[in-house]
Symmetry: D3
């Protein structure tokens, strides 16, 4: 994956979110998407911590798209390499070797984000 692939990921995600929300979703789906944004907002816990929570949850549930999205957010909000290592260590120990293929892709994605 190179920088162009990061852009491709973001564009495809936006295209499909728009399709779901504007041409498909009923009120319940829209409200859920609203809640999904709200829970990561700065509050008692800073957004940075919440993005870390979202990332580790996505890793142990093994969802590549969710991992990539939270990596983008973590990168933007200033999570460091060393912090990411420790988040991934926790996810790996909790979730086991079955998470390794997702960790491989996550690290590759992160390295491209840092370029």
């Amino acid at each position: 994956m190179n920088l162009t692939e990061i852009e491709k990921f973001t564009e495809e995600r936006e295209r499909l979110n728009k399709l779901v929300l504007e041409e498909f979703a009923d009120l319940e789906i829209k409200r859920f998407f609203g809640l999904d944004s709200q829970v990561y907002r700065d509050d008692v816990l800073p957004q940075k911590t919440k993005e870390m929570l979202g990332l580790v949850a996505s890793l142990v549930l093994r969802c590549d798209d969710c991992i990539k999205y939270h990596l983008l957010q973590c990168h933007e909000i200033g999570v460091s390499d060393a912090e990411l290592e420790e988040i991934i260590s926790v996810g790996l120990i909790v979730g086991g070797s079955i998470t390794i293929p997702h960790i491989r892709k996550a690290v590759d994605f992160w390295k491209n984000l840092k370029k």
Copy 2:
């Protein structure tokens, strides 16, 4: 995904099912595939309801191929857009935001099926 991709999905699925059943499967695997067809047949519950059950189960278990297959069946048997919205709402609430990447692809696939 465009119409050609729907055809590609169906062809690849058929090629591999044939490979599994004709060149690999033992009696247990074959019997399981048989059961897998039977449980969706019209009976006390109509096939339409059963395809909906198969779809929501595939969504919360987050299997794109299974979702696509049941969307094909739902489309053929006349599930409406409004019905699909409600099935997906249930799956999203039960399974959480981790199902969203699968919902995005499902809606895209469905929109192409309707063309």
Copy 3:
């Protein structure tokens, strides 16, 4: 499990829901609980179908409490024994033998509900 245990299940569920909603939940959690009620309401799909969807989703995700709750709802709304058999058949085929311990408890719970 006997009738008293059904009552115990319902009472404990209500006690804890009250604890969560009145003494713990923030706005996001409350809104999620609201959505969780809304998606099963009569709409384009009848509530009966939606409870079946909730049941099969709970079965393949292997959550005994969720299964029991949807069995209670299915019972109240008039799902028949024969319909339940077919819902469970779909769940068993999709989810495999790992769902059997949950099916055993579900059938026991259902038989007690019918008494």
Copy 4:
């Protein structure tokens, strides 16, 4: 858990299997239960290996009842302590620390089986 609890586990399992098969199951459920017995029978792979496969699958999917059942079978067919250690090591590494509560109960159950 003591020896009496092993008996209780076996009796409850048998009572509920009987309930499911004699008073509930349709043809598909019965056929699935049949297949579920067949796949562990001595064939190209010995039953002992197949029970090990069933055990590790149950462990990574984190189903206590399934783990106990396969431990009973493993015990009966002569799996040694040292072999069990290695099966559990594989399951722990694949499935991560989330399997540890199940491993704790599995070891306790096994120690009681050996008494």
Copy 5:
């Protein structure tokens, strides 16, 4: 659950950990248990953040024992009610309504811890 049940949880956990480590585990299992302690230690990320990560991972993977253990750690290290609410909100949105039975028990356990 009352205070005595918290003690019972802790004692049973310790008894079984001892059984696993002293009378069962091979080198790989012991090393894994070692790693499992290390990843939560104060480092670039403070232990408090890591316990939060462990908690949300346990919640979305729906393991009551793991949730209880991380709640104990979170309580000891000073996680506040408001912080816990937000961790649980993230877990609920990511993992969906299937996590609710675990959230009910978690809140009950937490309330008893605070007594």
Copy 6:
């Protein structure tokens, strides 16, 4: 998938493992990768049995990359077609029809390995 795709899988896996281990991993991640190799080594259980355990665990957890890796190992260590059939039968019965898309790809990969 053809022979070239097997090579591509192996190369990409090695490139990313190198990236993770040399440019990202902390001590805990490195130790976990070490343990992950050790548990499959010849010991009381032969490596062949352990690779079978790893394969069935990967199948029921539905991780294509892990399945492919263990198929490569199984192929190298001499697992026969008939043995593979029985491993996959167990995985299919335990894990249900949701594993079928992974079985399709596994059989395709295996057939190419045998060429």
